[in-house]
């Protein structure tokens, strides 16, 4: 009897110990994130030097602008194609060969290393077209990286809609396309937007795919608004180094440039703040969405 109760005590002790251990691991990761974010941001603030946010050679303004411009360009391409492909998967495709092929393709695309996508972009958009590094090629590379996410988000959002959305619309005499365009897609917008925000956040941080597409330098003349000129800010066919590439260049090849370490510190801070902002925004949106759905089902 005594031996048995000893065993119980031991088993219970182990259980309690392991529970504590798992709490410890959970806490460790949250702490790690806080420390990491705080370190990056504080280090960035301490490295601020006069002119770091300026739109000149010494500042990171141009790189920041390139990053936002590149991501916008890429979203302009990836959102229509991704949403359409997701709509096809959810609404039109039957469970046949084509669906299977698309699903496998999405899986393959989403697991491709970004350097491989960057090299494909380099080969097709730079070497084969004979152009110099340019923002547009970078945007296309980022498009390839973000297509899988947008497609699956759209597909999942459409599949999750209650079936009376469809039957109601078809019953009123609408075609499947009209149903999709006027009823189903509008109902999915919040979810799709959440997906797009996540994709944009990843685009801001992308670097390996841009090394040999967008280029590792940038020259912008803010007084020049002739779209065909290679120094015009809005010309997509000019080299456009992004913020994350700038960190790479500053910490590897840019050691000759004055302030290179500080520039990298500040750039990391800006990227970190953007990432935090975007994931908080996406989280806020999806939580609002959940609340709305709960309200609807009551």
């Amino acid at each position: 009897m005594n031996e048995k109760s000893n065993r119980y005590a031991r088993v219970r002790m182990t259980d309690r110990f392991m529970t504590g251990f798992f709490y410890g691991i959970g806490g460790f990761f949250i702490l790690l994130l806080i420390v990491l974010a705080a370190y990056i941001i504080i280090k960035g603030i301490l490295s601020i030097y006069p002119g770091v946010f300026s739109f000149t050679r010494n500042g990171i303004g141009n790189q920041f602008f390139n990053t936002v411009y590149l991501v916008l360009l890429s979203l302009l391409i990836s959102v229509p194609i991704g949403v359409a492909a997701g709509a096809y998967l959810a609404e039109y495709s039957k469970n046949g060969r084509a669906t299977e092929m698309i699903t496998i393709s999405i899986e393959a695309l989403s697991s491709l290393p970004s350097i491989v996508v960057g090299l494909f972009g380099y080969l097709v958009f730079i070497l084969l077209t004979g152009m110099r590094w340019n923002l547009f090629a970078g945007a296309l590379a980022v498009t390839i990286l973000s297509l899988p996410t947008i497609t699956t988000t759209t597909r999942d959002a459409l599949v999750a809609l209650p079936s009376h959305f469809r039957s109601g619309s078809i019953g009123l005499g609408a075609t499947r396309w009209q149903t999709l365009w006027h009823v189903l897609l509008p109902a999915c917008i919040p979810r799709i937007v959440t997906g797009i925000i996540l994709v944009a956040g990843r685009g801001f941080g992308e670097a390996a795919a841009l090394l040999y597409t967008a280029g590792q330098s940038t020259f912008i003349n803010w007084a020049n608004w002739d779209l065909s000129s290679p120094t015009c800010p809005l010309n997509p066919f000019r080299p456009g180094e992004t913020l994350s590439l700038h960190i790479w260049v500053m910490r590897t090849e840019g050691s000759m440039v004055s302030h290179s370490v500080e520039t990298a510190n500040v750039s990391s801070m800006v990227l970190m703040i953007m990432v935090l902002g975007f994931s908080l925004l996406a989280r806020y949106l999806s939580r609002k969405l959940d609340e709305k759905n709960k309200g609807a089902s009551k």
């Binding site: 259980d15 999405i106 009209q178």
Partner: protein, 295 residues
């Protein structure tokens, strides 16, 4: 009718097909460019995979150099293996925490934290590695070559792949039917006994999927590793020594070599190898899923 249905249907179908075409195009282009070194410069795959002699010619159209990429391949394998070794215990514990111990705290704090970890750009991880890890390894662990090391790369990669493994494993653990838990509790087991005797074995194939997804991410990771690995083409004597890997070599040299040269072609072959590894990972995941269904 055309405008009401067929035009729209045609467009979305086209976009669906475009995704297949894009995947095929990437594979075919890399296959052509990546086999140049074997077709045009007459090297054997065996030399590429198993030789250490790396001295490719950097003149367009001129062959005759050596393209043994074994050190790069081993560098990738070592850093990924080390990363997995570090990340795995942490990831599975975190997954258990989310799914079994405290789903509430898990979904409110840990899961958002993990999502943010995923969102942090890889260059920023590399930057952190360069400003914290490399000096630390240099000063505290007395690394012989200045802190740039397999260890630094392994730790950076571990932080980058743990979210993938954790998320997939947590999903797998959550998918274990509740009746299993009720049965285990009904037999009088404690929570820990339930976890390691019932839940984890039942979620085994899902956890394995997470491991492979994490590995595939680690293999393809470029800049973060390139910043801390030291980029020296020697076989490391230990984890405190620097080496080089596939992705870092491609990122560093692709732009500096002549297009159409042997050096360039060898780098493309490395890119093809990366593509093959990532495709192989998908195939393995499907095989795991299939065997899970059968049993």
């Amino acid at each position: 009718m055309f405008k009401k249905e067929y035009l729209g249907r045609g467009l979305v179908t086209l976009c669906g097909i475009f995704i297949i075409a894009l995947t095929l195009a990437i594979s075919i282009f890399l296959l052509i460019k990546g086999t140049d070194v074997f077709r045009l410069f007459h090297h054997s795959v065996g030399e590429f995979m198993f030789s250490d002699k790396w001295a490719p010619m950097d003149v367009p159209g001129q062959g005759g150099g050596k393209i043994g990429a074994r050190i790069y391949i081993l560098g990738s394998l070592m850093t990924c293996g080390l990363a997995l070794l570090i990340a795995l215990p942490f990831s599975i514990s975190a997954a258990i925490f989310i799914s079994e111990i405290s789903p509430k705290t898990g979904s409110r704090f840990l899961q958002p934290a993990i999502e943010i970890f995923v969102g942090i750009p890889s260059v920023v991880y590399g930057w952190v590695g360069l400003t914290i890890l490399v000096p630390f390894i240099n000063e505290k662990l007395h690394a012989p070559m200045g802190g740039y090391s397999v260890l630094a790369a392994g730790i950076v990669l571990a932080i980058m792949i743990f979210p993938t493994i954790t998320t997939v494993s947590a999903d797998a653990l959550r998918a274990v039917p509740d009746s299993y838990r009720q049965a285990a509790y009904g037999l009088g087991s404690t929570r820990w006994q339930l976890i390691y005797k019932v839940s984890v074995p039942a979620a085994k194939s899902g956890i394995l999927t997470g491991v492979i997804l994490g590995l595939s991410r680690a293999f393809g990771e470029t800049l973060a590793v390139a910043m801390v690995i030291g980029k020296t083409r020697v076989f490391p004597k230990g984890i405190l020594y620097p080496t080089n890997n596939l992705t870092a070599a491609i990122a560093a040299d692709m732009g500096n070599t002549a297009n159409g040269g042997e050096y360039n072609a060898a780098l493309w072959a490395m890119a093809l190898l990366l593509l093959i590894i990532s495709m192989a990972c998908i195939v393995i995941i499907h095989l795991i899923a299939r065997s899970g269904k059968n049993s």
